[in-house]
Amino acid sequence: MTATGAPRPRRPWRRLGRPRGNPSWEARAAFLPYLWLGLFFLAPFLLVAKLSLSDVVLAIPPYAPRLDWGAGLAGLAAFVQALDFEAYARMGQDGLYLAAYLSSLKFAAVATLILLLTGYPLAYGMARCRPSVRQALLMAVILPFWTSFLIRVYAWIAILKPAGLLNMALSQVGLPPVDILNTDTAVYIGLVYAYLPFMVLPLYAVLERQDDSLLEAAADLGCTPFQTFWRVTFPLSLPGVAAGALLCFIPMVGEFVIPDLLGGSGTLMLGKTIWTEFFSNRDWPAASAVAIVLLATLVIPIVLFQRQQTKLMEQR
């Protein structure tokens, strides 16, 4: 039936739509994440940003200027004028910050690479198992989360220390002891150990979802199992590779506990630098400036990660 001049019958489903001008509950609920972000992300971020523009003073709290609420607009103007980029300037002058910065990126990048090389075969093997075995293996990957993170890092101290489990085992088989604790190697071991599930799970998710008929199609069109992996399985798992790599890389750059407990005095990482500035040097503006620069750099991989996730959602 084409449209004619006659009035169209009232469609009952119209009534399911929301009346005009009155936001639906869905629209109101969408406000909640913004509230959350505002309260727990944006507000602290602004505080830290403000701190990074302040100066160090010997007082409690150890920074200036402070906003005088009683002075009104004039007070606000004086406050804004007193803010400066001195903390950032000091960061640029002191080579230590840049070194810590680059060293953090290096630690995170190398650890991400090792994680990919260990996590991929693990996830691939899990995805190729029978479904019942898969569940058990998935459990085994998640299980360590049930213990406190700190305890697991302390356990590594017990393993790696000079008279630890590792050296005991080495001496049992007649090998010379190794001195790993408080070195960069220990930090890498700790990072890879702690972040492995974050690499394995996204990889497993894409590999497990992969359609077996694609592998059969590749074999049918002349691919050996090895060629099938490189022409079909691996390219199709790239979203998982990207997700896992970013999911590990981003928090590892700012990692504090692992380098602090397993690393040595020579281990330079930004997390430790921030801690030292904050607690040892009581230089809150410097610590804040380091944190802000770290965040600014991480915005790039975070945006990449978000875009990857959106793409992944669209493919489903």
């Binding site: 008929s213 199609a217 049918d220 069109l221 050996t224």
Partner: protein, 385 residues
């Protein structure tokens, strides 16, 4: 002059019949092939020859072993017993990537990360053909399946029908000795499926390639195939041309699986060489059928009559054999056909179908009308199993 009357079955007279030539060498030979999954026998000692240039259909309900049979040919399953040879070469132990057959998957299995052109080129690149040759072949394939403008699309940007054509082009591109099609049209809607059936047949004739299609849709098999193998529980029930399988089924199973059929259980009373006479309480005048094969007198047999071969009368026809009496219980009007469900005095319902050849009917058959059904002796088939 004394020869038995040979029934000329079906409407198609085709000169292509390599299977009838005792000297012809089959392209594919299944020899007593058996496959078990756990305790289940999926394929049970199947022997089957498929000839070069043939369009062969494996037809059967789900779980009858037709897909397993095809997957053994592609190399995804190994037979537990028996031999499969392709062009005289034993395929045992040969992995799928070395077999010169290509498969079009039921799900199409297009590579989602590759464009249409890259999907089609996949098998060609694997054959290490020169780049310009690959490109030329891809263009040729795109033209063949009429997808010229879509070479750079990704599979998820295509409609179901377009995807189906890409899958077809990808499987044909490497010029396999044989193309395997696993329920190739199952995911298409009815109209598109009908069109594609004819396209597939035309394509096969143009390429001269051997096609093996697996389907549960009898219409698909009947339209496309030169020969159909009807499968049942891992075994072959009957092999023949579509018209043979339809008009001369060898068992009640085949008669019932392909199309609709009315079956009359009856006792054979006479076999005079041409005509077999049977007695059934449902037909007071007796039953008659022209049958080449001999059926022992006194044994029980089944007379199979297709609904469209039943004539419906509102006035009583003269008494005689092949005459049934009943009441119209239901009428199904399909536009091109009308199906009448006629209830016999014994309570059984018989189907009769009539083509609606003209728009107006003098005396339409109505619900609860008393009707008579008759059929010609050469329209009925005597089945012994």
């Amino acid at each position: 002059m004394n020869a038995k009357p040979r029934l000329n079955i079906g409407a198609v007279r085709s000169s292509f019949a390599p299977w009838a030539d005792p000297l012809a060498k089959p392209l594919v030979r299944f020899d007593q092939v058996t496959k078990r999954f756990g305790g289940e026998t999926a394929v049970d000692a199947v022997s089957l020859d498929i000839y070069e240039g043939e369009f062969f259909a494996l037809l059967g309900p789900s779980g009858c072993g037709k897909t397993t049979l095809m997957r053994m040919l592609a190399g995804f399953e190994e037979p537990d017993a028996g031999r499969i040879t392709l062009a005289g070469q034993d395929l045992a132990g040969q992995p799928p990537h070395l077999r010169p057959v290509n498969m079009m998957f039921q799900s199409y299995a297009l590579f989602p990360h590759l464009s249409v052109a890259q999907n089609i080129a996949f098998g060609l690149r694997q054959q290490k053909r020169p780049k310009d040759e690959v490109a030329a072949r891809v263009d040729e394939m795109l033209a063949l399946v009429r997808l010229e403008g879509l070479a750079h699309r990704k599979p998820h940007q295509l409609s179901g029908g377009q995807r189906q054509r890409v899958a077809l082009a990808r499987a044909i591109a490497p010029k396999p000795k044989m193309l395997l099609l696993d329920e190739p049209l199952g995911a298409l809607d009815r109209k598109l499926r009908e069109e594609t059936q004819f396209e597939l047949m035309a394509l096969q004739q143009r390429l001269g390639m051997t096609f093996l299609i697996v389907t549960h849709d009898q219409e698909e098999a009947m339209i496309t195939a030169d020969r159909i193998a009807v499968m049942r529980a891992g075994q072959l029930a009957q092999i023949g041309r579509p018209a043979e399988v339809y008009e001369a089924p060898n068992s009640r199973y085949v008669a019932d699986f392909i199309g609709d059929v009315n079956l009359f259980e009856a006792r054979v009373t006479e076999d005079d060489g041409d005509i077999i006479r049977l007695a059934s309480p449902e037909a007071p005048g007796g039953l008659e059928a022209i049958e080449d094969d001999e059926v022992p007198v006194g044994s029980t047999a089944w007379l199979a009559v297709r609904p469209e071969k039943m004539r419906v009368h509102l006035d009583p026809p003269p008494p005689g054999p092949n005459r049934l009496e009943g009441q119209v219980a239901d009428i199904g009007y399909l536009g091109d056909w009308t199906t009448y469900l006629v209830e016999l005095p014994g309570g059984r319902t018989i189907r009769a179908a009539r083509a609606n050849a003209s728009r107006v009917v003098d005396r339409p058959v109505d619900w609860d009308d008393k009707v008579w059904l008759t059929f010609a002796p050469d329209s009925a088939v005597v089945l012994t199993r």
